[in-house]
Symmetry: C2
Subunit: 338 residues, 2 copies
Amino acid sequence: MIKRIGAYTLKFCEPPIITGYGATAGKKESEGPLGKSFKKVYYDSRAGQDTWEKAEAKFQQEAFIQAMDMSGNRAEDIDFIFAGDLLNQLISSSYSMRGFNIPYLGQYGACSTMAQGIIMASMTVAGGAANQAGAVTSSHFCTAERQYRYPLEYGGVRPQTAQWTVTASGSVVVSSTGKGVEVCHGVVGKIVDKGVTDLNNMGAAMAPAAMDTLKTFFDDTMTKPQDYDRIFTGDLGQVGTEILHQLLQGEGYFIDDVHRDCGLMIYDREKQDVHAGGSGCGCGASVLCSTILDDMAEKKLNNILFVATGALMSPTSNQQGESIPSVAHLVHLKNQDV
Amino acid sequence: MIKRIGAYTLKFCEPPIITGYGATAGKKESEGPLGKSFKKVYYDSRAGQDTWEKAEAKFQQEAFIQAMDMSGNRAEDIDFIFAGDLLNQLISSSYSMRGFNIPYLGQYGACSTMAQGIIMASMTVAGGAANQAGAVTSSHFCTAERQYRYPLEYGGVRPQTAQWTVTASGSVVVSSTGKGVEVCHGVVGKIVDKGVTDLNNMGAAMAPAAMDTLKTFFDDTMTKPQDYDRIFTGDLGQVGTEILHQLLQGEGYFIDDVHRDCGLMIYDREKQDVHAGGSGCGCGASVLCSTILDDMAEKKLNNILFVATGALMSPTSNQQGESIPSVAHLVHLKNQDV
């Protein structure tokens, strides 16, 4: 059963369990600080496929198969798959999941998709609709760049506030029983739009959404940042991280010591030319489904928040002068025996 | 609580109730056989906005406000909104829902989005996560045509198998208590792809998915088509309808007498130049949220199936030679006192 506490927070009374997870990453990601954590690396950006889009679908398949294998399940044991990505009409997801014969629910939360998928999967398990549900998401530098910005061959110059779209996928299997990390709480974010219009400064657009969701969670649960071993954001990057810290300080919450941003963890910004850090659905997803959940399995971390942020605009809305609406979804994950 | 019966069917043990619904439509739709059923009609394709995309967002807002009003709720009473549309990055949904301050979950099922949204809203209500949840979706001929096919000014000639994208929106509010139509069962569809690649023949691509989901439901519940007053499909159009009848006959199910397709209901194909019928997320949604739910309120219909089908390709995947993966989601709706 699921209860609501405070204004917006969901409490999973018998917490669903992440019994399996997996992450696939590209060459650049394998050369970063977390390179050794990804279970599978494709050094070829096409992953043996004839287009980048098909490669992204293959990244998803691989991550999902890893998650199923770890949880000891086969595709026929999975009751629902919640899948999404950045591409128009979510083609990475529909083509990657086409062969599995699993009831399919396409999710779009831009870079917040991993947290959205975990919340949805947990809702189905905790509500009795599923015994096992999967969540998967991905991004790919080459597919995203040509869809959202410029043809790759054009070689457009990127400002320092821009983030680098991560080529990676992450996936989890959430189960009603088993061993693993518990999904204790979730917060579905509201759309926040503070009027930012710069497509090369997503961190600034998304930070207020992260603030809103974190403040909601702290208020609803009457906890503070220091009650958690770590608070991970999906991909605010350097600019968004600084804004988030300032915004939360204004509300009396200091997260600087416990906060890490997946967009800043995945690359070495001194050696890898990624400007403000990594971004994309695959950023938070692949970092969660590698080093973070590995550290929880080894009890280096026991009690964390994962907050993934998404910018919900499109090139069309931007060309029409619209600002960037953002959203942030949160999951509270805890080791079972802690 | 939610139980699973048979292989894939969800049974909502205390059925969530559709306590409010609303539909907004455009001029062409107002001139069709259902014209008088839509609560609000915009005769201007831009609905007073400066772009068609912003107009589509306004259609959604209007339909959702109608649904909230009818259910006696205000935005702060709605725990989640499940929203989606056909546009890249679901901008109709994110911009339409930006002002409501409701926890937001973007859904993508192409033209199956209305059924997907009702299932998701019902899951949150039946599982205890929400007291009230909303679902909304839309499509717009002008935004879809220029995104998926050709600039409108080009005036491309359409083959007879092509469907006409409906300019409309539909929305429901699903509640844990109250008066209205019960959501008794749901089936989340699996992705079905029989290799159709013709973007101007979506009906043929989607019919096998509708067959798969309907057969699943009949098998799981041990019922037959004639146990229902009507079976409505979202928008198979003329071509898809004929294929669905043939496919189900092959499985021993005859639905011809009880089946109606929203894509064939919304336009007068003899007088309105729409070729194989209507399509788009807004087609099934606006027909359900006007004449169908009106007929249920008046007890002309008491026990129906609503099956919405979606084609999950994009122009990019099509250009890369991919076939069209499809999905169909089903909800079983029943009057409370029957």
